[in-house]
């Protein structure tokens, strides 16, 4: 038994070579290509883009490959890369009404202009293992909806809006720069815009659990999936030097508007209220959870009571980020023997004191 005084670097290098070997696995099996990941693991890629806050399928695929499928590690790689990129400005607000819809459903109306567009989904499938996939069976070409029919579908919330039954969308000052928590330290109270940015980057599992808790009575408000839509939207950038908007390309998004009935309060008349969720790619679970949490966090606007974790801005926003969370939880792997030694010394001292006291007491009793 020896006290290790040198050798950390060698040990780390060796560990990294072992990991590279494990990641590659059996060399007789072909290595995965980024195209395969981007095409065939699209939900993983979408999640990494969403929580990594970087819309780039190729880089997300690389991160997934590099992390051997550990998605939080992949998100971390993307975040660390993203933070070094120069920033040119913010895009114009996206117009999701102009979305080329691939999927659009509403749970609050049976039918509406444009109809329900089921699109590609796991929903209503039988969750039975498909052994033909294991054998790489042929996949038939699907029928696609007519593009003309799915362009410019109005939002379901507009139907309620026309009757004045839903709260209006808060108006934004023209050209107001949105806050950016990647450039400013998060401060409380944060306000809704910053909250939404935080939630959009937040961990899907955390938001899912928080959203779920609101359904189970922790800040209960019965939410309806007013609308979930998924498809491509154009991104535009206002170029100061040109004086007009320049199209930058299209991004695929999932948007969710939750509609929650509200009884009214001394402040506000009875009406429906909104919770909003948005995620890159097809990420319905994330967008829906985000919308539930967004609504719960708005308790103060409606004069509701703060009774549950999902309503608590400091709690939710401080713990939603999986990169912060995983770093700090996993840092417990780092050596802590200096603090531990301090605690050892303290525990031994306290035990010694108690033993001495007990001894003194028993002597006294004997005398």
């Amino acid at each position: 038994m020896y006290v290790a005084v040198k050798g950390g670097k060698k040990a780390i290098d060796a560990a990294h070579r072992l990991f590279a070997d494990k990641r590659r696995g059996d060399r007789s099996v072909p290595a995965m290509t980024l195209e395969q990941i981007a095409n065939q693991l699209s939900f993983a890629v979408d999640r990494v883009m969403s929580e990594g806050s970087l819309y780039d399928r190729e880089l997300a695929s690389l991160a997934i490959k590099q992390s051997a499928g550990d998605l939080i590690e992949a998100i971390f790689l993307i975040r660390a890369y993203r933070t070094t990129l120069p920033r040119f400005g913010a895009s114009r607000p996206l117009e999701t009404r102009e979305m080329r819809v691939e999927r659009r459903i509403s749970a609050s109306y049976k039918d509406m202009p444009g109809g329900q567009v089921l699109g590609p989904t796991f929903d209503y499938s039988h969750r039975l293992l498909d052994f033909t996939l294991a054998a790489d069976g042929e996949v038939a070409d699907p029928e696609r909806p007519d593009e003309a029919m799915t362009a410019q579908l109005g939002h379901v919330a507009e139907i309620l809006d026309r009757e004045g039954l839903i709260e209006p969308v808060p108006a934004d000052a023209e050209n107001e720069q949105p806050p950016d928590l990647t450039r400013e330290p998060l401060e409380f109270p944060a306000g809704r815009k910053l909250r939404l940015q935080n939630l959009a980057r937040g961990d899907e599992g955390f938001l899912l659990a928080m959203g779920y808790s609101t359904q189970r009575g922790y800040a209960r408000g019965h939410a309806f999936a007013g609308e979930i839509r998924m498809g491509e939207v154009e991104v535009e950038f206002f170029a100061e030097e040109l004086g007009f908007n320049v199209p930058l390309g299209r991004v695929k998004l999932t948007e969710c508007q939750m509609v929650t009935q509200f009884k009214g309060s001394s402040k506000v008349k009875p009406q429906f209220t909104r919770g909003y969720g948005l995620a890159f790619g097809q990420s319905e679970r994330k967008a829906m959870s985000m919308a539930l949490v967004d609504r719960a966090l708005r308790w103060e606007e409606y004069g509701e009571e703060l009774v549950a974790p999902a309503q608590d801005e400091e709690f939710v926003l401080s713990h939603s980020d999986n990169i912060q969370a995983t770093g700090f939880v996993e840092h417990l792997k780092l050596p802590h023997y200096v603090d531990f030694q301090a605690e050892l010394e303290l525990v031994r001292k306290m035990r010694r004191e108690i033993e001495e006291r007990d001894e003194a007491e028993s002597q006294e009793a004997a005398e």
Binding site: V3, T84, P185, D339
Partner: protein
């Protein structure tokens, strides 16, 4: 193209450095106050030194000599990894010798040797808020600092005394800086607290995940909180000396040497221990040191 060429000197872009540099100057001007800063995502995990790394990256120059320690040692795995990061991205010289370093980045220890005016020590901080475990809300603790309302901390320490007969905090022991701000000295053992008082070197503290930077200028009063009848005291190891170098007045690591309760103590500060051995000092178990 080598990996390093993809990144700026010391990794951070110049705009980020300016933002951090402004925060550092404010931190120096308001000793012990936690300055919020827009911490960046770094290529190492939060909780593993991102705050210290951002501070070091913002102050380091090409002529600096860097010493990186974790638990007092230059060769713990994370110290090695972080030193490698700066060797790669800044190409600066690194050293294990305390006296040769112009910047010392540390986690959980202050070197045993006195630091000098020409040095800066950068601490990695996990939870910068000394009141956090008494009050989890940032909005509340911020008010408490603003009003200099530290009663809660004194109550906590006093409860320790009532229960245990003494203050039961052995590391991250709170200090008061310049008789104004109560500050968390990062999870250094309280053994190191007296070294912070009127230290000749500038002390910078970086908390990346919590997005705070704070500082203690040189020669500043740093007092560990205590009570008149229960004065602050540091850890002691009666009748203990370093098995390798024989040192006594140092912070010790305890090393378990077999399955039968055998153990030895040795200096936590590995450079201090090495220098003493090089100078001919020896402990009772000198052959336990090994190059692995």
């Amino acid at each position: 193209m080598k990996q390093e060429n993809f990144y700026n000197f010391a990794y951070l872009d110049e705009q980020t450095k300016r933002m951090i540099r402004r925060a550092i100057l404010k931190a120096i001007a308001i000793p012990g106050y936690q300055v919020p800063f827009a911490s960046r995502e770094m290529p190492m995990p939060y909780g593993w030194g991102t705050g210290g790394v951002q501070v070091t990256a913002s102050i380091i120059g090409k002529d600096d000599v860097l010493k990186m320690i974790d638990q007092g040692s230059d060769d713990t795995t994370n110290a090695v990894a972080l030193r490698g990061f700066f060797e790669l991205t800044a190409g600066v010289e690194s050293t294990t010798e305390t006296s040769e370093a112009s910047i010392i980045q540390t986690r959980h220890r202050i070197p045993e040797d006195d630091l000098t005016e020409d040095q800066v020590i950068v601490f990695q901080v996990p939870i910068p808020e000394p009141l956090r475990f008494l009050e989890p809300r940032e909005t509340e603790t911020r008010k408490m600092h603003a009003l200099e309302e530290y009663g809660l901390m004194h109550v906590k320490l006093y409860e320790d005394i009532a229960t245990h007969g003494h203050i039961a905090t052995s590391y991250a022991y709170p200090v008061k800086v310049m008789d104004r701000y109560v500050m968390d000295p990062s999870p250094t053992p309280k053994f190191d607290n007296p070294k912070m008082h009127k230290m000749a070197a500038l002390q910078l503290y970086g908390a990346g995940r919590e997005k705070r930077i704070y500082a203690i200028p040189p020669y500043t009063d740093v007092v560990s909180l205590d009570f008149e009848d229960y004065p602050f005291s540091v850890q002691e190891w009666p009748d203990t000396e370093c098995g390798l170098c024989g040192a006594t007045e140092v912070y010790f690591d305890e090393v378990v040497t077999d399955d039968h309760g055998g153990r030895m103590f040795c200096c936590s500060d590995s450079d201090y221990c090495e220098k003493r051995r090089a100078a001919g000092h020896t402990g009772k178990q000198p052959d336990q040191a090994a190059e692995v």
